[in-house]
């Protein structure tokens, strides 16, 4: 599907969600509560079949987090970006999609490690890169580490 038809199809299917375009790919903004179900639909429905999660990351917008999923369909060769906005900055929680895309297991652990976003029902949510006793979430914008961070 080309971008236009993806957009139309998404608008039909998820009328309440905001869809951004103009960038490289269509961006679908999904609320936290719906994410798991939308993910399953995007993965399994034949017209999307977004089976390849090639990038999962989080962004700290100082007031909120957004978790960005870059999805591709190997069959149709189209891409879609899904953004989930998490407002609760103190205790960010999202449901895991590691059962839909197995690669998300590692990527979610990475996001948890560096941003402190908890993924519910994740099979093995532990720090990935840092040690278990590490304090803080390094990729958050308000993270301070006077010892290891050198300000230039």
């Amino acid at each position: 599907m080309d971008q236009e038809s993806i957009k139309n199809r998404l608008q039909e299917k998820y009328p309440s969600y905001q869809i951004d375009e103009g960038g490289q790919w269509i961006v679908l903004n999904v609320p936290v509560s719906d994410w798991k179900q939308v993910a399953a639909e995007l993965r399994n429905e034949a017209e999307f079949e977004l089976d390849f999660l090639f990038c999962l990351t989080a962004v700290d917008w100082k007031t909120h987090f957004s978790v960005v999923f870059h999805l591709r369909s190997i069959l149709h060769n189209h891409e879609l970006v899904v953004k989930v906005k998490i407002d609760d900055r103190q205790n960010p929680v999202l449901e895991t999609v590691s059962d839909i895309w197995r690669t998300a297991e590692f990527h979610e652990r990475e996001a948890y490690d560096l941003f402190g976003i908890r993924f519910n029902y994740h099979p093995d949510l532990r720090r990935l890169f840092l040690t278990e006793d590490w304090k803080g979430w390094p990729l958050r914008k308000d993270y301070e580490d006077p010892v290891n961070m050198i300000k230039l």
């Binding site: 960038g23 560096l114 890169f129 840092l130």
Partner: protein, 371 residues
């Protein structure tokens, strides 16, 4: 973080492979649960070389951050740099001169060859054949010399800059590359003699570390690992960047998904890379090697994602710009990270020797995984 090292509750043997281990090629730490010689579980522990490059990049300008990416997948540093340069160019809307594009593709393919050669030697060494390593380095040395002459460094070149390449080609470049092609064409057959047909090597790799097409997709595998399982995922074909849309080359696909298929994919990719270099080496257009860019680069507010095919798979650069001199957030999608996540799936039920073979054919570069 680490379990009490000993035996598990079921009486299985738990062994730490790494962080200092001959076959992990760096500081990868695997905790494997063994039953006799059979592997029940492989659990990677990462972070021994985690430098938080993404955080570092948030304080570097768009010119500066490129050099850091050479330190991720140091074996395909050119291609990593290219990915970053492409992302910045996307934001700046710069037209890259044709000569620069050709140079970039040539360098990318030479890097791919060098990386595959190193992989070939290192994987052979994992499997126990020590001689191929040196034979592979003979050819890799030639590429490194070519790189050194043109780019000024052998491993972390920082040759790609937004808008083109840093220097023009060295006058001897074409001659040397042609010499290399002629030399390597003979030697790649020797590679086959030494290893490909060898019965022990086949025994060690055929049917080992199998991954199905569906699993490969689900685990986010890319590059030769996925292509060996039949997933058509070559970025050079599906989302061509620079000159790749104009070049004739085949995407190598195998369907077995085992170590031997991964091996064959890489061996054939080497021939394809040679093919690409041959197409371009006589057709380097004249012109600028760098587009005019401002001294201080500022990307307009927005999000830019660029993908390139490194020797290990799909490398993605995701830049979020707020219009400042430095990126607001950068995410690097490294191929090794996703490929590693499939290791447990591949190695389950096989022997320790197989684990080494699987790791060898996954072609892991640890700084690429840890970033």
């Amino acid at each position: 973080m680490l379990e009490e090292i000993g035996t598990s509750a079921e009486g299985d043997l738990i062994i730490n492979v790494g962080p200092q281990h001959p076959s992990t090629h760096g500081v990868l730490h695997l905790v494997i649960t063994l039953q006799g010689e059979t592997i029940k579980k492989v659990e990677p522990h990462l972070g021994y070389i985690h430098r938080s490059i993404e955080k570092m990049c948030e304080s570097l300008s768009y010119r500066q951050f490129i050099y850091v990416t050479s330190r991720m997948d140091y074996l395909s540093s050119h291609i990593n740099n290219l990915g970053c340069a492409l992302a910045v160019e996307k934001g700046l809307q710069v037209e890259v001169p044709r000569r620069a594009m050709v140079i970039r593709v040539l360098m990318s393919e030479l890097t791919r060859l060098a990386s595959h050669q190193l992989w070939w030697g290192a994987m052979a060494m994992d499997i126990g054949a020590l001689t191929p390593f040196f034979h592979a380095f003979r050819e890799r040395e030639m590429i490194n010399d070519i790189m050194e002459e043109t780019c000024g460094a052998r491993l972390t070149m920082n040759y790609m800059v937004p808008g083109g390449v840093m220097f023009d080609l060295h006058p001897d470049f074409q001659k040397k590359v042609k010499e290399f092609i002629a030399h390597f064409k003979g030697k790649i057959d020797e590679y086959d003699e030494l290893l490909t047909g060898n019965v022990i090597f086949r025994e060690r790799t055929v049917g080992v570390g199998k991954i199905s097409r569906e699993d490969a997709i689900s685990y986010g595998c890319s590059g030769p690992v996925a292509r060996a399982a039949g997933v058509s995922c070559d970025i050079r074909k599906h989302a061509p960047y620079d000159m790749y849309s104009e070049l004739k080359f085949d995407e190598i696909l195998h369907t077995d998904g085992d170590c031997y298929a991964r091996y064959l994919v890489r061996m054939q990719e080497m021939r394809q890379s040679l093919n690409i270099i041959e197409q371009l080496i006589d057709n380097i257009p004249e012109g600028d090697f760098q587009a005019k860019t401002k001294a201080v680069l500022k990307l307009p507010k927005g999000e830019y994602y660029s993908m390139v095919e490194t020797a290990r798979g799909e490398f993605g650069v995701y830049i979020i710009s707020e219009g400042a001199m430095t990126p607001y957030r950068i995410k690097f999608r490294s191929p090794g990270f996703s490929n590693l996540s499939a290791l447990d799936h591949m190695a389950k039920g096989s022997k320790i020797g197989d684990l080494v073979a699987i790791m060898g054919t996954l072609d892991l570069v640890i700084p690429d995984i840890d970033r």
